[in-house]
Amino acid sequence: MSSDECQPTTSGVSGSVDYRMEILRLLEVRDQKHAFIEGIFRNYSKMIDTLSKTRISRVSNRSFDESGGGSDEIRKLRDEISEVYKKKSKNDQELIDANRRLAECERNLNAITEERDKLKSDLDKMCARIAQQELLVKQTLDDNQNMRDEMIALKTTCDALTRRKMEWEEERIALLNKIRELNEKYAEFFNREVDDQEERRRMKIQEEITKAIQDTSRDERTNSLLQQQENIPIGDVLLGDVVPSQALAKFDSNDGEVNDVLWLSGETFASAGSDRRIRIWRIDSQGRYQKLCSLSGANQAVTRLDYDKDKHVLLGSSNDNMCRLWNVDNQRLLTTLSGHTDKVSCARYHQSHNIVSGSYDRCIKLWDIHNQRCTKSYFPGSIVLDIIGRQSLGGAAFISAHFDKKIRFWDGRNSEPFKIVEMSGKVTSLALSEDGLQLLASTRDDTLSLIDIRNYHILHIYSAEQYRTSGDLARCVISPGQDYVAAGSADGHVYVWNSQTTRLEKILARGGHESAVLCLSWCPTGVGLLSGDKIRRVCYWH
């Protein structure tokens, strides 16, 4: 590096011979001068080395010879001894080696034995585990087999049961058909019997007529009676509500309790009672009454009545768990609706072809009239005491009154009520006003409540000092013009309140009932109130 940086300077200075090359050349010349001698010197030093080595070995040999003296024997012995020593040392070495090998072998053996023992124990463990597993497998297989057998058994049982179920189903359908047939037959027979009765009565009347024709002595009296009758307006026309003031007629209608009375028209009404019959009466404004016919077929007390004015079909619920339909014109039993499992407390027409019924079995059933089937069941969870189902409520809606102090409003489509109004006592009956906007509820705490069903608010509460609700099924009523509300009391009086002012208008007592009044029905004309009590009696108030 220095030559690189120095060279240009020097050459620049003088331009003379390159000093580096000169130096190298001179060094070369110098080395060549020595080259010849160097070779000689190297050989010489090698020779000297060899010489000194040989000399050293010779000196040592010579010293040995001198100490050996002359005796060959000693040398021989010495050789032998050295030989023996050599052998001994060799043997010793071998012994040591062998010992080492032995120790190593023992160590290996120990290790192998240990390993073998370990493996053996592992093997034992594995064997035990295998045996366990095999046992388990066997158990599982057995279980499996058992389960399979069981399954097969169950399957066959199931098949058999299914078959039996199907058979029974068929049998049930057959029996249902048979029941229907029998029902029809029964109705037929019954109707025939009614016809026969009718025939007999007709014959009897015929006889009487013929007898009467023969006896014409009382003609004039009859004429005067007929004239009197013509002066009093009668008809189906609503003339305004009149507070009844006196009992025009009083007669025994049914044996036992009169559970319900219902105006069928302006001058006919039906009464139902615990004598299992429904009687149809005609009554005029003078209080003259006449029994038209009686409808039988119920096996227990009839509890509630409803009437289809267009078809002239009367609906009655009964304590024999059934509801029945009668044709009023020919007094034929049309249909029996069975399905409730307890006393049917109420049944009402709902829509044109539907009936709703409430029962002590805590359910409400919706029936189809045409095929006599229950189409839907509702489960309010409480005994149903009364039910209102009218088209005026709008669509499929209906209202039920319950033992648990609640009034439930249903829309018919859902299985849950859409509104529940809690009252202060058991709700014994419901009455809907003619315009369908107000609902009168009679509760067991001796009051009546008027509810606006548009917002479910209680508008008015009616009560009186002596008024006591007569029973769980005591029926209240709203007058057709909605001016008055009325309810029968346990003391045999009928209380009439003004619906707007809640003033007690009238207590109908004189000449009336002697026992608790169970039911009321206000004549559609607004004039005339019917009441039925616990012991046979029906009063017509005017």
């Binding site: 590096m1 220095s2 030559s3 120095c6 300077t9 020097t10 200075v13 003088s14 003379s16 011979v17 000093y19 580096r20 000169e22 130096i23 190298l24 001179l26 060094l27 070369e28 010349v29 110098r30 080395d31 001068k33 020595h34 010849f36 001698i37 160097e38 000689i40 010197f41 190297r42 010489y44 030093s45 000297i48 000194s52 000399r55």
Partner: protein, 267 residues
């Protein structure tokens, strides 16, 4: 550094014949090629061993401390590098330089130089040279082991070991130039060498070998084309006079970092 030159300088050997003074007729001399860069005191034990083995067939113990060397009745300064002694004392017409080994009557001015003493003297020379070149910065920055390695390489004649350590001592750069050139001039016949502080540059001009000689021995070198009366030899060669001093210091210095130049009369 110029590796080629340095390698050649390092590798050169000189032939020396050792005679045991006062020995019997049978005693043969010992011949040996010794490296120029080495020192005689490192090789004397081997020579003595040879003589002790071969002296007349008998083992003779030669006291190494008592032995001393002379040439032409002049005791040799064995602490000079072999190359310096060789160039100084070898007769011009002879190939081999003959040295007498004396075992008795050592003159008082000739001190025994043992190996340890030699090492200290060598290291002293190295330090001195570095003070001249770098004001001692390089040698002081080297570790103690490196100092030992330097001497070891010289005493065991190991070029690679030397090359690894000596490089930083020999280097200079434009930013850190040599301050002075460590150069010694030996004039034959004078008891000691001449040494002066000679800078590598003078007024920005690079000084060459002749400038250094002019300063050290103006009487020996002819000026203005006058023929010089002496040859100026280093490592056995007459150094070209136009060689720059920096190049000289880097490549032609002995392991002790000095450029030893011997002035021998011409003819």
């Amino acid at each position: 550094m110029d590796y080629e030159v340095y390698r050649k300088v390092w590798e050169s050997h000189v032939p020396i014949e050792f005679n045991l003074d006062g020995a019997s007729e049978n005693q043969t001399p010992y011949y040996s090629m010794l490296p120029r860069a080495s020192y005689l005191c490192l090789h004397i034990p081997k020579v003595l061993r040879y003589f002790s083995q071969t002296s007349g067939g008998e083992l003779v113990e030669i006291d190494a401390e008592a032995a001393w060397l002379e040439y032409n009745s002049v005791p040799l300064k064995t602490y000079y590098p072999i190359g310096v002694l060789f160039d100084m004392h070898k007769p011009k017409n002879a190939q081999v330089w003959t040295v007498n080994v004396r075992t008795s009557s050592r003159p008082p001015e000739c001190h025994n130089v043992s190996k340890d003493v030699m090492e200290r003297m060598f290291m002293q020379a190295v330090k001195e040279a570095d003070y001249l070149k770098h004001k001692g910065e390089v040698i002081n920055s080297m570790k103690a082991e490196q100092h030992v390695q330097l001497w070891k390489a010289v005493s065991q004649y190991n070029f690679d070991g030397l090359w690894a350590v000596i490089k930083p001592l020999m280097e200079c750069s434009p930013t850190a130039p040599f301050f002075h050139i460590p150069i010694r001039l030996y004039v034959v016949g004078e008891p000691s060498f001449r040494q002066k502080a000679i800078p590598p540059y003078d007024d920005g001009k690079q000084l060459v070998f002749s400038d250094a000689i002019l300063r050290l021995a103006p009487n020996l070198i002819g000026q203005n084309d006058v023929e010089a009366s002496h040859d100026f030899v280093c490592h056995g060669i007459p150094v070209p006079l136009n060689t720059p001093l920096v190049y000289l210091a880097k490549n032609l210095s002995y392991p002790d970092n000095f450029v030893h130049v011997i002035a021998t009369p011409k003819g």
